[in-house]
């Protein structure tokens, strides 16, 4: 919703929250999540406004709110109410106001150090207790204080309150790096962004115990929601970039590659260069870069051949420099990359092009770009690529897509698709879920929309619980071929009971569609079932707006439909025949456990 996009109009959001909520609740396909909020100050509007940002992301929250100021008691000494709520997320809404045992100028440096150590231990006990609930925990870090007793020395001396909070932030960051499941909401940065004079409101604190001004609450909530969205795989995946006057200044068709503004020689050139550098680093986080420009391709590529161009033509996984309408180009690229158009952010300096894309493809994010020096900030503040962890797969994603392009070229040289698949010399490494790959498996489960038969989402804790459950069959697979390694691309969870195994979850990344990996995985599932005396496999297809692709999947691998619910959910069963013949003959399968031995 426009009202919830950057730049935020905080007072409009606060005043119209009921109406915004009413409108957002009318959306289809909302997913329900349980969110526990514990606080060290008034939660009130924080909960109300957080609900808006989550609804806007398609998430309908049910809240459990701790007692006023009881964040520590609620988590460390839970009387069972929080545990029985079964939160999907815990948000610890504490601030610098909740730092206790603060040092004073009268303390000796050693005493001040002891105070810090004691307070650090208190917070670590809190984080440990929160993580024991087994769901992601979001913890605010600590903003700088409103006043500084010692002036500048407050940030330097161990007895300074400013120094104390900053050291605690460092402790929190180190803890978050070494403990999976703890995510820091950086209110230190947010408060700086808003300005401490705006962030701190003595009146709101003394009268209502709000730790920040009401007008800063929307920015806070947007930040918390961004973490939750990211954890639920709701980030954007690609940026489609216009070229002329967007990635560089000027028009390359008229000015030539030497004439465009890029590099350190002009103010606009420096601004475009920084935008390119930012995009290049986004691609290192797994964001796919695409060109969407009205240009001749050969001329457009000359711009990236400049020595001072940070981006090179092969940094892009798709390059559309042509005279087609841009919405068409974006739709085509979405299809080629096997992602949905609403996974795109579109950067274009031309308001008419932006309007066209917005109208034709309303799901695409289209930031308002005004002057070149503001482009970078507009892209950054959009919050479309909030990262909660950087996996090896993220770093390699663009390379994988480029390999796919080479596979597509190879495919063109084969008349028969099975011959092409054989020529890829594919190897799948399969095994039950293991600790080492839990993060990637969880990410895959939560990000996959198209090949996802049930769209059930699992937290890292739930995935670990499945892996440890002897009645649960879990399988994941990575796929490599002669062009490269696709990494872990498919996962399956089946619950066994007697002679039946019920497939609770089956996902596969669009990166490896049409490679028969799903058949190889099913062959392995059948073998595992037979080994433990399971004779019947059941599964269901739960329709969503995005998984039509697998509507008939079970039927294509030999399942029989046993029923269909009013909501379109289809139930299937497969009785394993005594003479089961493997479905896949084009992938060599290795066991991950053999590789480790």
């Amino acid at each position: 919703m426009q009202a919830l996009e950057y730049p935020l109009d905080a007072s409009a959001i606060l005043q119209r929250k009921r109406r915004i909520r009413r409108e957002l609740l009318q959306q289809d396909g909302l997913i329900d999540k349980k969110i526990a909020i514990v606080g060290g100050s008034t939660v009130g509007e924080v909960k109300n406004i957080l609900e808006l940002f989550l609804l806007d992301a398609g998430i309908r929250p049910t809240f459990w709110e701790g007692g006023y100021g009881l964040y520590y008691e609620n988590l460390v000494y839970d009387d069972g109410t929080l545990r029985s709520f079964g939160p999907d997320f815990i948000y610890i809404h504490t601030t610098g106001r909740n730092l206790c045992g603060l040092p004073e100028p009268a303390d000796s440096p050693a005493a001040a150090e002891e105070k810090f150590a004691a307070e650090a231990a208190r917070w670590q006990a809190l984080w440990q207790a929160a993580l024991a609930f087994g769901c992601p925990v979001i913890q605010n870090n600590f903003e700088d204080p409103d006043v500084r007793l010692m002036g500048n020395l407050d940030g330097t001396d161990v007895r300074g309150r400013v120094r104390f909070g900053r050291r605690m932030n460092e402790q929190l960051a180190a803890f978050a790096q070494s403990h999976k499941g703890l995510y820091v909401n950086d209110i230190c940065w947010l408060a700086a962004l808003q300005g401490l004079d705006r962030w701190h409101s003595p009146q709101m604190w003394y009268a209502y115990h709000y730790a920040m001004a009401l007008e800063c609450v929307p920015a806070l909530c947007r930040s918390v929601a961004a973490i939750i969205k990211s954890l639920l795989g709701k980030n954007r995946k690609a940026v489609a970039c216009d070229l002329d006057n967007t990635l560089w200044g000027g028009v390359i068709g008229d000015d030539g590659p030497e004439g465009i503004q890029l590099g350190q020689e002009s103010p606009a050139g420096r601004a475009h260069t920084d935008l390119q550098l930012y995009l290049k680093q986004l691609s290192q986080m797994g964001v796919l870069l695409c060109v969407c420009s009205k240009n001749e391709e050969a001329i457009a590529k000359e711009g990236f051949a400049r020595a001072d161009s940070p981006l090179k033509a092969d940094d892009f996984v798709a390059f559309k420099a042509n005279w087609q309408p841009k919405p068409q180009n974006i739709a085509d690229m979405a299809q080629e990359l096997n992602i949905l158009p609403d996974a795109f952010v579109f950067l274009d300096d031309n308001p008419a092009e932006r309007e066209l894309v917005h109208r034709e493809l309303p799901g695409v994010a289209v930031p308002e770009l005004e002057a070149p020096e503001t482009f970078l900030r507009a892209l950054d503040r959009g919050g479309w690529f909030e990262a909660t962890a950087l996996s090896e797969d993220d770093r390699r994603r663009s390379e994988m897509y480029r390999q796919n392009a080479r596979r597509a070229q190879a495919q063109a040289s084969f008349g028969n698709y099975q011959d092409y698949l054989k020529s890829l010399e594919m190897t799948a490494r399969m095994g039950p879920f293991d600790e080492e790959h839990l993060e990637r498996i969880t990410q895959l489960i939560n990000k996959t929309n198209q090949f996802n038969l049930t769209t059930r989402r699992y937290t890292a804790g739930e995935v670990a619980a499945c892996a440890a459950d002897p009645a649960c069959l879990t399988l994941y697979a990575g796929l490599s071929d002669k062009f490269g390694d696709n990494g872990i691309t498919t996962a399956l969870i089946a619950q066994t009971a007697g002679e039946t195994a019920d497939i609770r979850l089956w996902v596969m990344s669009c990166r490896v569609f049409k490679r028969d990996l799903e058949k190889a995985l099913f062959d392995r599932l059948v073998a595992l079932c037979l080994a433990r005396g399971v004779r019947r496999i059941t599964g269901c297809y739960i329709p969503t707006a995005k998984n039509l692709f697998v509507k008939d999947f079970y039927a294509t691998i030999g399942f029989v439909m046993t029923g269909e619910d009013a909501d379109g959910t289809r139930h299937y069963a497969f009785d394993i025949p005594g003479d089961y013949r493997p479905l896949c003959g084009v992938i060599h399968v290795e066991d991950t456990r053999d590789a480790q031995a």
């Binding site: 009130g44 009146q203 003394y206 209502y208 709000y210």
Partner: protein, 80 residues
């Protein structure tokens, strides 16, 4: 500003805040009369009034506000 004009603007703030275009506000209206008007909402209403009328309430100002009439009088006093 005329009294009725002030009351109309206050009513507009209430209508927007409570998402109810049929809400009618008088000087006698209190938190008892509007279901969602709690202490939390009071802060929102006061913040909206500060913005609308270009005034700033102190802790003292907002301590004993009994009804909408008190709010209107406060705004008139601060605007001078």
């Amino acid at each position: 500003m005329e009294q009725h004009e002030l009351m109309e603007q206050i009513q507009a703030i209430f209508r927007e805040n409570f998402d109810d275009d049929s809400l009618v506000i008088t000087r006698q209206t209190t938190a008892e009369d509007i279901e969602d008007w709690d202490s939390l909402e009071q802060i929102n209403l006061l913040t909206a009034m500060e913005k609308q009328f270009g005034v700033k309430f102190t802790l003292d100002d907002v301590r004993d506000l009994e009804n909408v009439g008190d709010m209107a009088d406060l705004i008139v006093r601060l605007k001078g």
